[in-house]
């Protein structure tokens, strides 16, 4: 009997240890000899055991930077692929400018592969997959700012150790994902609402999921919510045409963990769930720890304006134009039914006097599948071809940023879109989802923020007659 118990205990302990090892990741230091001189050399070693993983990865948007436009209203049946590779935004705008797409050599620092420096790139070569950018835990793995490869300068200076990086591979941490995603738009905190480098090490007050255990948070990795299958990472960007799969709060918060079970007014709060997304109440403000870019006027490029500090960030740079910043920003709210309206390359602008909608959620009060979500309202301007009436593709890197000539920069982008020789600036507007920095429940919105005179919601703009607490919700009988 005792022997049986002992054996059972040993078996359980072995199983627990195996599970812990699997969760922490296999120690790769024993499998790799080292002496690596380049990124592809590391990849070659990875492929000896992980060819399937590389093949899987090459089917994802993190590799191809495009996919079927399943997120865009009106393009559901399109067979053309869209993504960062061929779309425009209102930040650095496009990676396509210049002869042979020379802009790639700078922008593709954030492509999880080696060598995509020009438009033509062999997406079938698995030796070019950059495993380390997502998996290296040590060695200060860095990619070069130009050239889409390992940062050789850091290696030469001895501040990066490629061998140590290769031997340290494990499940991605927030630092790995943040290497690109915290720096969207070209620098820390620029693009995404509530997603910046302060989340690498943070507190529950900033984000209940990512906050440290010591602060009462969960210290969760990105992939805890952004569930990953065969290297396809869940999540739909409010700016992107394609998603591989989606993420929702209810993926975890359901059943015994369903929301508001312990709330005093749980039933009343739950009445909101048909029309109000979780994020709306639980992300009352975004960018709590450092400011995010709220506007970007490209039309100020080349001017001699005085840069001022706004939330400790500069408001003007001669090569980029002028900006405004926001910290602890109260979101704007809009209906979203799971689709976006998206400006695509070559779309004609009907009325240049009105802001061009770069991205906006689709849905309205009559749409039963839509809910009210929080957004960062980001505005700006960028050049439109005066004759063809579409937004121009211009070469910023190694053209506009060198000599401030819009004409030259737009000509350089005309391989993709013809340029008539005349341009003007048009205003743009983008609705960027605020889906990070979930606040502690004590800081969630209270009734009075939106109802009983609360000004947070513009009820009329959302299609209500007035405060639905008084005039009735959208399900109310007329």
């Amino acid at each position: 009997m005792n022997l049986k118990r002992t054996l059972l205990s040993v078996a359980i302990l072995t199983l627990v240890a195996a599970v812990q090892t699997a969760a922490a990741g296999e120690d790769h230091s024993q499998h790799l000899k080292g002496g690596f001189k380049s990124g592809p050399e590391v990849t070659k070693a990875c492929l000896e055991c992980h060819e399937k993983q590389a093949t899987d990865f090459m089917k994802t948007t993190h590799w191809n930077w495009k996919g079927t436009p399943n997120h865009v209203k009106g393009l559901e049946k399109s067979t053309k692929l869209y993504g960062k590779a061929n779309m425009l935004n209102a930040f650095c705008t496009s990676i396509q400018g210049g002869k042979d797409g020379i802009v790639h050599e700078a922008c593709d620092k954030c492509h999880a592969g080696y060598g995509w420096t020009r438009t033509d790139y062999d997406f079938s070569n698995k030796n070019n997959v950059d495993c380390l950018i997502c998996h290296a835990q040590k060695g200060n793995y860095q990619r070069a700012s130009v050239g889409c490869t390992v940062d050789m300068k850091s290696m030469e200076k001895g501040v990066m150790d490629l061998d140590q990086a290769a031997k340290s591979v494990g499940m991605p941490t927030r630092k790995n994902c943040g290497y690109c995603h915290f720096f969207g738009g070209g620098a820390d905190a620029v693009k995404h609402a509530g997603l910046d480098s302060t989340l690498e090490k943070t507190t529950k007050k900033q984000d209940v999921h990512m906050g440290s255990k010591a602060s009462g948070g969960q210290d969760m990795a990105c992939q805890s919510c952004h569930k990953t299958k065969e290297h396809k990472i869940g999540g739909a960007s409010s700016m992107m045409a394609h998603y591989d799969s989606r993420v929702a709060c209810k993926d975890c918060h359901s059943g015994a963990k369903a929301p508001h079970l312990k709330s005093k007014n749980g039933a009343l709060i739950n009445n909101h769930l048909a029309a109000v997304a979780c994020e709306t109440c639980h992300i009352p403000v975004f960018n709590k720890a450092q400011a995010t870019k709220m506007s970007w006027k490209w039309s100020d490029v080349g001017k001699d304006l005085q840069s001022e500090d706004q939330f400790d960030k500069e408001t003007f740079a001669k090569k980029k134009g002028s900006f405004t910043w926001g910290q602890n920003v109260t979101p704007v709210y809009a209906w979203y039914n799971g689709k976006i309206e998206r400006y695509m390359v070559g779309d004609k602008i009907k009325d240049p006097k009105k802001p061009v909608v770069m991205t906006r959620p689709v849905g309205d009060i009559k749409d039963k599948t839509a809910k009210i979500y929080p957004y960062k309202l980001y505005t700006g301007d960028q050049p439109m071809d005066s004759k063809y009436k579409y937004l121009g593709i211009f070469q910023q890197y190694k053209s506009l940023w060198d000599d401030f000539s819009w004409d030259k920069a737009l000509k350089s982008g005309s391989d993709i879109l013809p340029y008539s020789g005349k341009y003007e600036f048009v205003n743009t507007v983008s609705y960027i989802a605020a889906s990070h920095e979930v606040s502690p429940k004590e800081e969630a919105l209270q009734c009075g923020e939106c109802h009983m005179g609360g000004k947070r919601m513009d009820w009329k703009a959302l299609g209500y007659k007035g405060d639905p607490m008084k005039t009735g919700g959208r399900a109310a009988k007329k």
Partner: protein
């Protein structure tokens, strides 16, 4: 009239006292951009001294860094000598305590 004058003098003295007290009690906040010439981590790893060469004046400024996020970057060499830094610090008690310490880099 004398009473009014006394009240005004007294009010003036109080105001001067409050203002002079505020000046000594509040720290001076300074913003600068500089290039790191030296980083020295404390033995316990809980703080570090970084010397920045101000890009405008060329003067060396010694900054005391104690936030965990920046210390991590020193430790794993994501911030190293020769990096250009945007820094905000409080000068309090003769020490320049870092409030913001970030690389200026961006595309």
């Amino acid at each position: 009239m004398k009473r009014l004058l006394s009240i005004m003098v007294l009010a003036g003295m109080i105001a001067c006292g409050v203002l002079s007290f505020s000046k000594t009690a509040s720290a001076e906040e300074v913003k600068m951009i500089g290039v790191i010439t030296k980083i020295e981590l404390a033995a316990d790893g809980k703080s570090a001294i970084a010397v920045l060469k101000d890009v405008k004046s060329g003067e060396n400024v010694t900054i005391l860094v104690s936030d965990e996020l920046t210390l991590d970057k020193f430790k794993d060499k994501r911030i190293v000598v020769d990096d250009e830094i945007r820094c905000k610090y409080d000068n309090e008690g003769g020490k320049n305590n870092s409030k913001i310490f970030k690389k200026t880099a961006g595309c």
